[in-house]
């Protein structure tokens, strides 16, 4: 009998963090401008300790201003989606759940498209203008979260089947709205939207947005992690969890809210990157088991690693053109999913 301890979790997370660091260093090597590993290590350490060291102007600006922020965005988007997917799988007691199953991503897309349509017609201050589209996306996400929650209750309590149903229906409805809105967009926006809907990390974010993404991730993760023991019990059965002292209602509400918010944030910033929220939890389960006290942080690191790798591939395979990162995750994700499914059935 070897129960999970905090130090075990910490050690394993340390290993995952190391892997993430290595992946980031390798990812930094790829791009338009060649970068030396030595110079890279100096850069990275300089950034990590909070000051920019003397970097050669050849690649310093590119690494600092474009590549690193892009990789950082990938880390937090990937971590958010993974943690959200892991949480929804526990909440809905369904291994096929992913962050988009409750319709949040479609709501975010509708919000972003509406923002894109409205924007030319209203005068905005420059600071607001840079975050207008993601803000619209996040508002759309919040609205969807609220509506799905209200519809997903049965006799006043969140009920899995009802929640899933209302989420799927909301998603279908919003999908149709998206299709309609796209025909209303001016043609250049349409093309841009199509790229974004597939998941796109290529445009640099404003610093405010980056801050919101990071803070939102840490806050959402903390909220969910505090329920990790409860989630383990929920997975053993709802009634059992209740009899074992879990406040099922509160836990489900908190997890629903936090996981949906994480998804909304990620999608508002980068579009719908698929398969990460579905597959990373399963792969981490294969490695670390089903205890959520380990699985949640493992999923966060796993998601970050997956998206950074996918994004690096997306911007190098067809260089100088860029593939949408969602296309890469789909191409890799679908066969991987089939493999995992067959393994499970074996």
């Amino acid at each position: 009998m070897q129960p999970l301890t905090l130090s075990k979790v910490a050690v394993r997370c340390g290993i995952l963090a190391l892997i993430l660091f290595v992946v980031v260093v390798i990812a930094l090597k790829f791009g338009a401008v060649p970068v030396s590993l030595y110079g890279l290590a100096k850069d990275l350490i300089g950034v990590l300790i909070g000051r920019s060291s003397e970097i050669s102007s050849e690649y310093g600006m590119i690494v600092r201003e474009i590549r690193l922020p892009r990789i950082a965005m990938g880390i937090f988007v990937g971590a958010s989606l993974s943690v959200a997917g892991t949480s929804f799988q526990a909440l809905l007691r369904n291994p096929l759940a992913d962050p988009y199953v409750l319709g949040v991503s479609y709501g975010a897309s509708v919000g972003s498209i509406l923002a894109l349509i409205i924007e030319p017609h209203i005068a905005l201050r420059p600071e607001v203008a840079t975050v207008f589209t993601p803000l619209g996306g996040f508002l759309g996400a919040i609205l969807t979260i609220t509506v799905v929650f209200l519809l997903g209750r049965y006799r006043g309590e969140i009920d899995n089947r009802t929640l899933l149903l209302s989420g799927v229906i909301a998603g279908m409805f919003l999908s149709a709205i998206i299709a309609l809105l796209i025909t209303m967009l001016p043609s250049s926006s349409t093309r841009g939207m199509t790229v974004w809907l597939m998941g796109d990390l290529s445009t640099p974010m404003s610093p405010i947005l980056g801050w919101v993404l990071r803070t939102g991730f840490f806050a959402g993760f903390a909220l969910i992690y505090l329920t990790a023991s409860d989630l383990n019990l929920l997975l053993a059965g709802e009634k059992e969890a209740m009899h074992l002292g879990v406040d099922v209602r509160k836990v489900r509400f908190v997890v629903y809210l936090a996981a949906s918010a994480l998804t909304g944030l990620a999608v508002s910033v980068s579009g719908s990157i698929g398969y990460v929220g579905l597959l990373v939890p399963h792969m981490m389960r294969l490695i670390f088991g089903t205890d959520y006290r380990m699985l949640l942080p493992a999923a966060a690191f796993g998601g970050a690693i997956a998206v950074v790798i996918a994004d690096t591939a997306a911007r190098t395979i067809a260089a100088p053109s860029e593939l949408p990162v969602g296309a890469v995750t789909a191409i890799v994700g679908a066969p991987l999913f089939i493999y995992l499914l067959r393994r499970r059935l074996a």
Binding site: P3, L226, T227, A236
Partner: protein, 269 residues
Amino acid sequence: MNADARLSVEQVSYAYSPNPSQAPIFTLEATSFQAKPGEIVAVLGPNASGKSTVLKLIAGALQPLSGRILFNGMETHLMEPRLRAKRMAMVQQESQLLFPARVWEFVLQGRHPHGKSLRFENEQDVAIAKNALLQVGADHLTDRWMDQISGGEKQRVILARALAQQPGLLLLDEPTLHLDIGAQVDFLHTLKKLTLANKYVVVIVTHELNLAGEYADQIVLMQKGKCLRVGTPANVYQRDLLEQVFQTQLTVESRVNGRPRVSVLEKSE
């Protein structure tokens, strides 16, 4: 265990409305009984007699329409969930694990109510879990997977998890339903032993007449939501009463140990 750990069910009733416009359906009418530490109470009756409702009310999963249920002097449905889980434990028939788990992981879940919400088990928890498995005679199963053990073994493990909660009150919901005869007897025998040793108050819901007659100290006989009689098995197992409740012809004999045995007769044409 505390000598005051007494369960008191006082004139408890329950009704619910499937939807607001319909009149409420009474699943339980005023029912009362009491139980002391070291005592097994069997709530007995055919299907839809309200016996599961009694258990859910005691467990605090439902709120009584009238009357109250006290354990250790506190009303059970008013207890904070964590506290309640430290006082009483539910043993259900099956487990609903979504992902496979090992026996020891399962039993360790019983330690959840002790301490803050996010917790990592310590040595004391491990010791208590080990002891619980020992007490139910399932310690040889410690490292096995839950979905690879037999029905009888699983029932013991579920009991072990309940014991790990260190409760004063054990609630069992038809625990022998899916077990074969040998496993049924084993289980109840172990339960009786533990009840006496650890002074649990035990309420067990069942429709097995003879098992209840053999192992229970008190019988609460239910039919269609009404409590017909409360008393010792010898008192309650009266032929006319049982025939009325179970709608079948039977005979009742008294055995050497004073406990009754019921035999169901074939239907005569």
